[in-house]
Symmetry: D2
């Protein structure tokens, strides 16, 4: 069994986390080369895992010992590196977003089709969470009949000051945007944002919470509460209601404590803890798929669709109205 040699572009928090993961948790892969805009940081990170630090991301892509690339650099650079990896004929795992504009996503989609085989996977890790996978299994088995509605919530305890209102769609809801499309195997055709009274526990500039509404091509309706300063924890909720039943994501299992007049259990404070196992499974399955040259994870098309729908959501936040999404026709290459 050949080991996959991975090059990582971008060694900020998430880059370092993926490097640690590939090194300590994923069998059959190791990190051999890294680059970062901060060469000192790249050197430090590289030496920890006995990899080479290279001057640029392009150098990582070009390095002959690199079998596959992980892009965890700053969002605006994603498209360039993904396109370069495709040009080099190398598999590339790109953290969300695939690109910061729908146009760039489309260029990637087109480049990959020209290459003729899937090379790109986007980092939508929820598809690898055990609870979401069970949800999908129940839905696909027809156990709740045809899905008609989904009720979702995405809550963070707090966000840093740099977080602005459009990020509720771009950074936060984008996970549900992908999850919904995947769970229902259907496309989102419109988006709308309602703005409840904002919490006082936030920076002045921020509209929080936001209540988002999505409509699917097949007629199902999705609602999603995004509330990134809910104070109490990182809490992800998802109920799918079908013609004969409803199925819900469980809260993660933690011990139950009975004390002081209460029965209680913990809520995670951090998405990194909540989805730690999903990240592990995501990278392990990606490495296996790379080795078999048979990617099945979230595709460039999924990255493109998420980008278009996220743009529509942001536009609705500005206008208040329903914004129809304008996706290209899905190519056969992506199961269209």
């Amino acid at each position: 069994m050949r080991s996959v040699s991975v090059g990582v572009i971008g060694t900020g928090w998430i880059g370092q986390d993926h490097i640690r993961r590939i090194t300590e948790r994923v069998v059959g892969a190791r990190v051999v080369a890294v680059a970062d805009i901060d060469p000192e940081r790249a050197k430090q990170v590289a030496s920890d895992v006995e990899a080479r630090a290279l001057p640029t991301g392009q150098d990582v892509i070009d390095a002959p010992e690199v079998d596959a690339v992980v892009v965890t650099s700053w969002g605006p650079t994603h498209a360039e590196y993904v396109l370069a990896a495709i040009a080099a004929g190398k598999h590339v795992f790109c953290e969300k977003p695939l690109a910061t504009t729908a146009e760039d996503c489309l260029r990637i989609v087109e480049a990959e089709q020209v290459h003729g085989r899937r090379l790109v996977q986007v980092g939508f890790m929820r598809r690898y969470d055990a609870g979401y996978r069970q949800l999908k299994q129940v839905i696909d088995a027809g156990d709740i009949g045809t899905p008609l509605m989904m009720h979702c919530a995405h809550r963070n305890p707090t966000v840093p000051e740099g977080y602005h209102s459009a990020m509720a769609a771009q950074d936060t809801a984008i996970h549900e945007i992908d999850t919904v499309r995947w769970l229902l195997d259907d496309e989102i055709v419109s988006a709308q944002v309602l703005t409840p009274r904002s919490t006082s526990n936030k920076f002045e500039h921020l509209t929080d919470p936001q209540f988002m509404l999505f409509e699917m091509a097949g007629g199902a309706r999705i609602d999603l509460e995004v509330f990134v300063n809910c104070q109490y924890g990182y809490d992800i909720r998802c109920e799918t209601v079908g013609e004969t039943g409803a199925v819900s994501l469980p809260d993660p299992a933690q011990v139950w404590l009975r004390d002081a007049g209460q029965v209680r259990t913990g809520v995670y404070q951090d998405w990194k803890d909540r989805f730690a196992e999903a990240f592990d499974v995501e990278l392990a399955e990606w490495v296996r798929a790379v080795r078999d040259d048979a990617l099945t994870g979230p595709s460039a098309w999924d990255g493109y669709a998420a980008s278009v729908i996220s743009d529509a959501t942001v536009e609705s936040l500005r206008t208040g109205g329903v914004v129809n999404t304008q996706l290209k026709d899905r190519p056969e290459f992506y199961g269209g």
Copy 2:
């Protein structure tokens, strides 16, 4: 302690149920007179509880031995009987709706003010459910901070063929319309209905489920799934999300069974079972309040507001757009 002698107008299912309740479950009250559009039915029901059967509802109101009136006749007759009871200076408990038009509700509101003391209570029984009362207590105590959103669901297993699409607002959502106003101590200022793909388990003419959106004067946003053919049970859900926490109505406690690879508990099939205790408490508290001439339950104003908001909801179902509600100014008489 004087016993309250009650006259009941309308001896259909809910009328008979209230008569049984007053007779068997409520201390300090008894049914002394009944009337129904079907005199034979009235006679039968009356003889069961040793009451008099009278020819008309007006006769019940006029009967000198009747202290207070319960109106459980056909909806279009409610306004007439409630107004007559007010004219007679007698307390009147009216099943929802208070009247079938906002105008008639307003006439009642005005007549009661002319009388000078509250005489009218509307049958919104959820205010007497232990779970909802706990919800209100938590919200009022400030335990979740200022409320920002409520997520609700109202699901019935099935409905009879006579149920039509406007009834989703008029008969079903009307409970949440009242509950939300009461829980948040705030007024609904707009309503909108979205229509997800309809279930195939229904009559052709019916739009089901409906997804309703309400906005409060204070800025909180409410969403409500009404799904009256959900097949699996009568299921009421309500989560209120505030600035620092969220609080949810519990599922009713039933035993947990572990068998055949499952851990499971039952879901009620019928609103009459789900809210049986709430109905008992509602009538017991009403009788007590009548005796003390100090009504505190849902008022004629609440009946009027529910009517206006229900109308707006039905209009939105027709038009698809947001419909602003146009309530009169709340009189001081009703705590305005």
Copy 3:
């Protein structure tokens, strides 16, 4: 429908509570006479409900207007009053214990048989709790197959200093002793008490918690944790394990709060709150049964059995060994 006129002997806490219940919550009964060892207290309580205060319990039993008697006096006086009520041919509801010795219980059992119809009901209110009734229904329906084991816990937050170690069986476990016999429709044949390390949150003289083991005639085994200083709440647990499944008493439904990194719900602090509805149902059904002269609640035999088994449990607490219970043969009169 004739109203049942009740005489109450003993107007301490539980007596007053039953008087309030009969007056305010139970239709078809009223309190007409009371007596107490403290005549001033009797007078006060009597005047609140427009009843007569009589000098002695025997006077209450003898009063011609008294249809049925409630005995809520000090335990050692129970037997005398119950026997007197039987002698007078009047129904008598006796709070636990039926008598403070098995011999006295047996005298009651014999007197009642001589009378020829059931007159005595013992206050084991758990048989009227909705959760326990569901448990019984599931067991009786065969949904878990033949019961093999029951795991129970009976926890109080604290007890007053007067509570001594034998009361763990006599006052606390006696509820489970009755419940188990009723749920399994089987007799307890031996008892044993194990003594875990005692909590430091208690008075010196007290052995707490106690872990009790019971064996049924049919071979099922029961274990019961009695822990009366558990600090955190009044918590009742019961799981019955059968050949094909297990069924558990649910925790009472209370709202769920998500805040401060927790998902939590409340635990009752007081048995009076936990079983408030059971007490209401108990007395309402007793009044109905008295009116119909057709008692079905916990019988004098159940009181006798509980007494014998409680004695055996106390003896085991002293000796540490297994103590076999020595019940008389159950007379046909009691379904033997």
Copy 4:
């Protein structure tokens, strides 16, 4: 980071599973040599992972390329291989039981002390389960005060015909025997088995369920239901009750389905699924500890203690009485 080369003795089901785990899930280790009593099976398994098949377990231990040994052969051979590994100065992970007699366990304990550093780890995987680890964390933090009782259940849906009554202690309860000692950081000083009515869903020769009672040196009392033909699933329960609170192992998180009048979630059918992650973590941490020559997992002493207590439990099953356990004094080497 040097990779640990593992030799595996015994390639039955659990051996193959550990080989797969080391190969596919554990970073930093690979299987280089295997042996089995069936040489053909050994060859087959070896070729799957590109390891050598050697004639005997001793050959595996002696192979110079083998850094550490995993013993998954037939129980009666464990002691021999573990002693041989110690003699060779190699780390050895031994599936439970460490040996089939307490005497052999003691020989291992002594040999390891002679060697002077810990070499032996026993396969009690529950210490690596996330839920149990949380339990331990809560107990160690003092969040429930001093532990006084533990209520446990260990249920399997069914067992094969070869399973006999003593295996309830030796194979099944042995997990709780270790878990309890570890959670409470205390020693078991007596064991007793009570035998409820047996289920009819079993082979004639088997006593099932068994209800086990353990007493700790510190006075805490443990009860454990072992029920290996419970039909409905593989279900592990554990509640620890302390002076100020109680903490419970959660059921594993699975989606909640609302359909057909029920709210329900799944129960695992198989211990391999229930503890799959615990097995992964166990071997990953063992490999790391081997590399650092710093074992922290269940020790030879834990294997010895489990053996003595399991023997006492089996003896009580035979005699019915309380059997005191007779452990040697715990050497300082093992933290005594």
